[in-house]
């Protein structure tokens, strides 16, 4: 019967530390390289005009609105845009910094005209 040999505890500790140091050091080297590469790319990045839309988790499916059906099976709202009376719109008016507010004409205290 083969005699069991025991690895001393100090050796085990040494092996564990070596393994940990190797893992950390290797990870550090990789992450630095990634950071350097990211910095380099961000300095020279050029966004192409025809950049594709950012991918989403759920793929977009194009579907003609005219054929869309509601859950109950009835046809959806008409496809044409509804006309909105600008006087009734709650939207804030578009304003640019160059446009000045309309001047307020004060009311005179009284007026002069031919004797009345």
């Amino acid at each position: 019967m083969k005699k069991k040999t025991f690895i001393p505890g100090s050796t085990k500790v040494l092996l564990a530390l070596t393994s940990l140091a190797g893992t950390v050091g290797f990870w550090n080297i990789i992450s630095n390289q990634s950071l350097a590469a990211a910095r380099k790319s961000s300095e020279t990045i050029e966004v192409p005009a025809d950049l594709a839309p950012m991918p989403t988790v759920v793929p977009l499916v194009q579907s003609p609105i005219s054929t869309a059906q509601t859950a109950s099976g009835t046809e959806s709202a008409p496809t044409t845009l509804r006309e909105v009376d600008p006087q009734q719109s709650n939207a804030a008016p578009v304003s640019s910094g160059a446009v000045s507010a309309p001047e307020i004409i004060p009311n005179p205290i009284t007026t002069t005209g031919s004797s009345k």
Partner: protein, 316 residues
């Protein structure tokens, strides 16, 4: 706090503004209608019991006049001299001949009859006034109309009395007397009516003190003998003045002078009228012409409210 009140007197709309809120100011403003009523009993030519009516019937005898009457007659004499006879109170007969023979509201409903013959120039027509004795001698055949003078004078007197209590503005049918700036130091903003649309102002002026008045053919006019008549009589023809000025607004040191000067502009026209106005110190004028054009003195522009100044410049 501004206290304002409005009422009718002397055939015109009267407006009073007082820049104050204490009890004395309120009490003073309530007295103003009484002051105007008192003036009407003296100067109305439509009231046969008025002092003026009695004077006009004095037929050359010595007439003992009230202090108010003496003051207004002195004013009339001064303006007569200053305007070389153009502004005179002795045009009453011409005014009646042209159709202005009753209160203006009743004239508007008549508008018929023939045109009387032209009267002689009233150059020699005058009256004797002894201010010290308080007497007047009105020659036979001469009758006085003190409407314009009396209204401006009454507005001025009311303004003087009210100014003891607060900054005051009194507007008597467009003749405006101002005591001084408002309490906060600001001038008073006054609109100049469009004679073709009184609801609209053609300009606005800032006036801190003095008087502003407008005279024109736009309101007190009527038809007689198929011709358009108005109340501004040319004493040299005895007829309603024919001129190229439709309406004139004048700023002056006091409202009486402003009223007389505005009449000069309408009666004499843009030629002789402006020449006279330019020769007078401290007068600023704004003329609305028959053809729609606007003419003004350089001195008037300093009073114009800024935004309408641009409008005015475009129309000149």
């Amino acid at each position: 706090m501004m206290q304002t009140s409005e009422f009718r007197s002397m055939g015109s709309r009267i407006f009073v503004a007082l820049d104050g809120s204490d009890a004395r100011v309120f009490a003073a403003s309530r007295q103003v209608p009484g002051w105007f009523t008192r003036a009407e009993t003296i100067f109305s030519r439509f009231d046969p019991e008025s002092e003026l009516s009695r004077l006009n019937c004095s037929h050359g005898s010595v007439f003992h006049a009230s202090r108010e009457m003496i003051e207004v007659l002195q004013l009339a004499k001064e303006f007569r001299q200053r305007t070389r006879g153009l502004i005179t109170p002795t045009v009453l007969d011409a005014l009646i001949n042209s159709g202005y023979d009753a209160d203006f509201s009743s004239i508007l409903s008549q508008q018929q009859g023939g045109l009387h013959e032209q009267l002689l120039p009233p150059d020699a027509m005058d009256f004797d006034l002894d201010a010290t004795a308080g007497t007047v001698i009105l020659p036979r055949g001469i009758h006085l109309d003190l409407g314009g003078y009396a209204k401006g004078w009454t507005a001025h007197q009311a303004m003087l009395r009210l100014s003891e209590f607060a900054p005051a503005l009194v507007n008597a049918g467009g003749d405006i007397a101002i005591s001084g700036p408002q309490r906060n130091g600001d001038p008073w903003l006054i609109g100049i009516e469009n004679p073709l649309n009184p609801e609209e102002n053609v300009a606005m002026v800032n006036l801190a003190k003095g008087g502003i008045a407008t005279s024109g053919k736009d309101y007190r006019h009527w038809m007689k003998g198929g011709k358009l008549q108005h109340h501004l009589i040319d004493p040299w023809t005895g007829l309603p003045a024919v001129s190229d000025v439709f309406s004139a607004t004048v700023i002056a040191p006091d409202v009486m002078l402003a009223e007389a000067a505005a009449k000069v502009a309408v009666i004499a026209g843009s030629g002789a009228g402006r020449e006279w106005l330019d020769s007078q110190d401290s007068l600023a004028y704004f003329l609305q012409m028959e053809n729609g054009q606007i003419l003004s003195s350089f001195s008037f522009e300093q009073y114009l409210w800024k935004s309408l100044e641009k409008t005015f410049q475009q129309r000149t």
